[in-house]
């Protein structure tokens, strides 16, 4: 199955199950969870169902485009179901059927894995889903987001699209994935992988980035205090990404690292509370909206 077909099939599947099909959020981030469609919407009492593909950047995982399994940027297909429906596992397994994975022909397991994102003050309990011994999805029931307890616990499904594609296309190198019939993953991303690796590990200007981190942090705090949640959150995302680059660049000592993570987590906490406050003032508009609440 072609990469783009697989993506579309999953988007359509979840769309048919009542999820909004949204676009990636246009700011650099390390995981689909960081999109406001997840981070903010999983807070508070309002229901929410969404699916989107999120290009996710992990500068430390960059390998100059030479490693068959690791890359600077990969694609997560992210599903949020809030509240988590009773049959959420079945819905998930059916989504695998939608991309041609017949559970009767494979060994599918839910193996304990407790997800945590220290920079977001977020954690949950759940599993890695294994397909014939390979992890293909992170399945989490959120318990806390932005250091705030979840009113309504969401189920988060994060599909590692490249992994699944490599399995379905029976190939050993990520860059050989067929995006469509003619163009491979490597054709699209290999050069960028190389460049991002050079930048993250060798060229990124440490002083500039440290300055940017401080600027973004300050701007985030200022903007949030002016009740502008979304612009504020965008600066939280930017500061998080800058931190990741600095980290990959080896510019941050172990203790500084804890400190930086604490600063981002603090921002995430402030924005989480501001968001809840804002929605409350708006009267939690999605609480009574048809088509979001129930199947």
């Amino acid at each position: 199955m072609l990469f783009q077909d697989m993506m579309l099939k999953l988007l359509n599947y979840w769309g048919e199950k009542g999820c909004l099909i949204l676009e990636p959020y246009d700011i650099e981030k390390g995981a689909g969870t960081m999109s406001p469609h997840t981070f903010l919407r999983t807070l508070g009492p309002e229901p929410w169902k969404v699916v989107y593909v999120e290009p996710s950047r992990r500068p430390a995982d960059a390998r100059y485009g030479e490693n068959p399994n690791r890359v600077y940027q990969h694609h997560q297909l992210q599903v949020i179901l809030k509240p988590s429906p009773e049959n959420v596992q079945d819905l998930y397994l059916d989504s695998l059927k939608a991309i041609g994975i017949d559970p009767l022909k494979h060994d599918i397991r839910f193996v304990e894995d407790n997800w945590e994102a220290p920079t977001l003050g977020a954690w949950g309990l759940g599993w890695e889903v294994w397909l014939d011994g390979m992890e293909i999805t992170q399945f989490t029931y959120f318990q806390q987001v932005g250091s705030v307890n979840c009113d309504i616990e969401s189920a988060e499904l994060t599909y590692g699209l490249e992994r699944i594609a490599m399995y379905l296309q029976d190939i050993d190198n990520i860059f050989d994935i067929k995006w469509n019939d003619n163009i491979t993953y490597g054709d699209i991303f290999n050069k960028a992988e190389y460049e991002h690796s050079v930048y993250s590990f060798e060229k990124a200007d440490i002083d500039t980035l440290k300055g940017l981190f401080n600027t973004y942090e300050g701007e985030a705090k200022k903007v949030i205090s002016q009740d502008l949640v979304m612009p504020g959150y965008e600066y939280v995302l930017k500061s998080s990404h800058v931190f990741n680059v600095l980290d990959a660049r080896g510019a941050i000592s172990v203790s500084e690292r804890t400190h930086y993570i604490g600063r981002v987590r603090n921002l995430a906490r402030i924005v989480a509370n501001a968001y809840i406050e804002q929605r409350k003032e708006m009267g939690f508009p999605l609480l009574n909206k048809d088509g979001v609440k129930n199947d």
Binding site: P68, N69, P83, S84, P85, E86, Q89, L93, P103, L104, K105, H106, D107, I108, R109, F110, V111, E112, N114, G124, L125, W127, L131, D132, G133, M134, Y141, Q143, C150, D151, I152, E153, Y167, D172, S253, V254, S255
Partner: protein, 692 residues
């Protein structure tokens, strides 16, 4: 006719590591419940699969047992007025119990008379027992980590999706946070029916089996073991036994089908752990060995399902494992391009702890401390050289590609790489053994060099982290210092090492000052570390079944030789069976109480009165013998000798008044008692022993 009750809690996949403890809780909670409700039964069975916790109680007696109970009312004093008529208090009590005046009985409790009535209570029916109790029964189960889901007001290890509650063939419903409670269960996720009616408790196992669920965990374990062995026997091998892995696998499948996969022969050139670690830790596969214990190019994965399409499943698993082993092969090839020693310098790039410097500094400290411990133990020249070398190389593998990727291989790779670089066996083994014991009950270092490096590594961490104020508090112990201290204690006891804690800690702290220039409040930190060790020693002795008072008694001697403390504890434990112990303890307690007031243990013979001479002479008679026994660590025999003083002590106190006004006389008498006390304290503090 007896009945059976069945409760099945249907969940999403329960973490395997929770299962063992949960089974115990279910059993003991059920026993307690049935006892409280006075229900008779014959046996309790607990079954678990990843998706269900099942309680079956057989042989339930369903008759309404009548139980007579004596209920206490108000005191007689306030129950009747002057004319002997019932007071308001008594009338209220009778109304509450539903009885008339004729049922009243008067009985005495602690010297006061009270009103009583005999009431007959009928025990609940079985239906009532289970209908009213099972909600709490489920909520009472504890897990190491719990979660909420779907907005329910409930915490559990993973979401509960259904509950079966039946008495023989009858549903016993109860309200449970909107989760269905019925006689409907679910079969295997893919192979079974998603809605199975349990028509009778007795048919439960059979019905599930028809739906691809082996509900009895012991059966699953047998199947896994038997079928796995069968598969590998055909290849001329056997399973690399690992009971813990077997248990884990048993608890992550409902319908186990072992299948065999193959790896490329070339991987077998890698060190064994490099292959078995990804197999076991990452993939939950059983490695396969031949009759000489060498790895064979196979593995067993246990599929949660039947054997259809096994070829697809095995191909996928082979691919995943192959990718990991290919990585490992690459790392190994890269790592051995340089002599192992070259990796030591790279340790400067790895932080141990921000304030305590990098790992290069740590390995230098380990080396110094280890050599010093070798000196204390008076090891030979050869061993000392080995210790010095192993200390130097101890952390080098942390900078290799292999250990950076597979951190569980620390120590093991160090050993392999050291050997390949021509280091001797003892040095190589010590590099691995520095990490032992890794968990409670793990193997301990086998060699002196390994034991010494292990103690040095752990003690260095404890000393350093205490010096910068990062000691364990409550449940917080991020550097696992408690486990490290326990490890040190276990090694010392196992190897029967005579080491003095004071000296050890002194030197460990001193190395930080010398090597790192670390500044801290030396005396404060030292006493904190000593207290920390004493706390661990107490806990460990308690866990090994030594009585609390014995531990206190030997700790009070201020001995800081851990192995010696253990000898004392064991000897004292046996000695306390002695006849007439109680009187001996009483006598020595009197001595202790007064001796603590003494300013010295000087005794002037010419100040002794006639009544004091007996004790004085008796003491002098035994002193030398007792001290020699103490030196030989024959503490029980020393106590035998010391306690011959019991009679003279008793006589002494009968005739002599110690706390007299005459200061010199008083001090002389206290001095004599102090002598006895001092020598007793060289063995143990008898005043800590509970006198029953």
């Amino acid at each position: 006719m007896t009945k059976s009750y069945l409760l099945e809690i249907g969940m999403e996949e329960l973490p395997a590591r929770f299962v063992g403890d949960t089974v115990n809780q279910l059993k003991s909670n059920a026993e307690a419940l049935l006892k409280d409700e006075r229900v008779e039964y014959s046996d309790i069975t607990i079954y678990t699969t990843p998706r269900r916790l099942t309680l079956i109680i057989n042989g339930l007696e369903d008759h309404n047992t009548k139980v007579e109970e004596k209920v206490k009312g108000p005191s007689k004093k306030i129950s009747f007025d002057d004319e002997g008529n019932p007071s308001k208090a008594l009338l209220g009590f009778m109304r509450g119990q539903g009885v008339g005046k004729e049922s009243i009985i008067i009985d005495e409790v602690n010297g006061e008379e009270y009103v009583f009535v005999n009431v007959v209570k009928v025990s609940k029916s079985l239906e009532e027992v289970f209908a009213t109790n099972m909600e709490n029964f489920i909520k009472k189960i504890n897990f190491p980590k719990t979660m909420k889901w779907g907005g329910k007001n409930l915490r559990f290890a993973r979401p509960i999706r259904w509950i079966v509650s039946i008495l023989d063939d009858k549903i016993i419903p109860f309200e449970f946070e909107g989760i269905p409670v019925s006689n409907i269960t679910r079969g295997h996720r893919f192979l079974g029916n998603n809605s199975i009616e349990i028509d009778h408790v007795n048919n439960y196992e059979e019905l599930l089996k028809n739906n691809y669920i082996i509900v009895n965990q012991l059966d699953r374990k047998d199947i896994i073991r038997y079928c796995s062995e069968k598969l590998v026997r055909e290849k001329g091998g056997s399973i690399l036994q690992d009971e813990e892995l077997l248990d884990e696998i048993t608890n992550i499948v409902e319908y186990p089908t072992p299948i065999i996969g193959r790896i490329k022969d070339e991987y077998l050139n890698l060190p064994m752990d490099v292959i078995t670690t990804p197999m076991k830790e990452h993939q939950r596969y059983f490695p396969v060995i031949d009759d000489k214990g060498r790895l064979m190019p196979y593995f067993i994965t246990v599929r949660n399902g039947d054997d259809k399409y096994s070829d697809i499943v095995i191909k996928g698993n082979e691919k995943v494992l192959g990718a990991r082993l290919e990585d490992a092969k690459f790392f190994f090839k890269e790592d051995i391009k340089h002599p192992f020693e070259d990796y030591v310098n790279r340790l400067e790039n790895i932080t141990f702890q921000e304030k305590l410097g990098n790992m290069y500094q740590k390995s230098k400290r380990i080396q110094k401390l280890a050599v010093k411990i070798g000196d204390y133990l008076d090891v030979g020249e050869e061993t000392k050289k080995n210790i010095e070398r192993a200390g130097y190389l101890s952390k080098a593998d942390l900078t290799t590609k292999m250990v950076s990727e597979f951190t569980e291989l620390q120590g093991k790779m160090g050993m392999e790489y050291a050997k390949l670089s021509g280091e001797n066996e003892i040095v190589s083994l010590a590099i691995f053994e520095q990490y032992l014991p890794r968990y409670s009950g793990d193997q301990l270092p086998s060699t002196t060099a390994g034991a010494v490096i292990s103690i040095a590594d752990k003690l260095d961490s404890i000393a350093g982290l205490f010096a910068i104020g990062i000691q364990p508090t409550g449940s917080q112990d991020p550097f696992a210092l408690r486990r490290s201290a326990l490890g040190i204690i276990n090694i010392i006891l196992d190897k029967k090492l005579n080491l003095f804690l004071n000296e050890l800690i002194d030197f460990a702290l001193y190395v930080y000052v010398e090597e790192n220039g670390l500044a801290f409040d030396y005396n404060k930190v030292k006493s904190e570390v000593i207290d920390f060790f004493i706390g661990r020693i107490k806990n460990m002795f308690l866990d090994s079944g030594i009585r609390y008072d014995i531990i206190e008694s030997i700790i009070k001697t201020q001995s800081d030789d851990i192995f010696d403390l253990k000898i004392r504890a064991d000897k004292l434990n046996d000695w306390l069976d002695k006849e007439g112990l109680s009187d001996i303890l009483t006598a020595f307690n009197r001595v202790s109480t007064l001796a603590e007031k003494a300013i010295s243990n000087n005794v002037k013979r010419d100040l002794l009165t006639e009544d004091e001479i007996e004790l004085y002479d008796s003491y002098n008679n035994i002193e030398e013998k007792a001290l020699s026994l103490i030196n030989k660590k024959e503490y029980d025999k020393a106590l035998d000798i010391l306690t011959t003083l019991k009679e003279p002590i008793d006589n002494y106190f009968e005739k002599v008044m110690v706390m007299v006004d005459d200061e010199s006389l008083k001090n002389n008498r206290l001095g004599l008692l102090r002598k006895i006390y001092d020598i007793m304290m060289k063995v143990c503090d008898l005043s800590q022993i509970v006198n029953k």
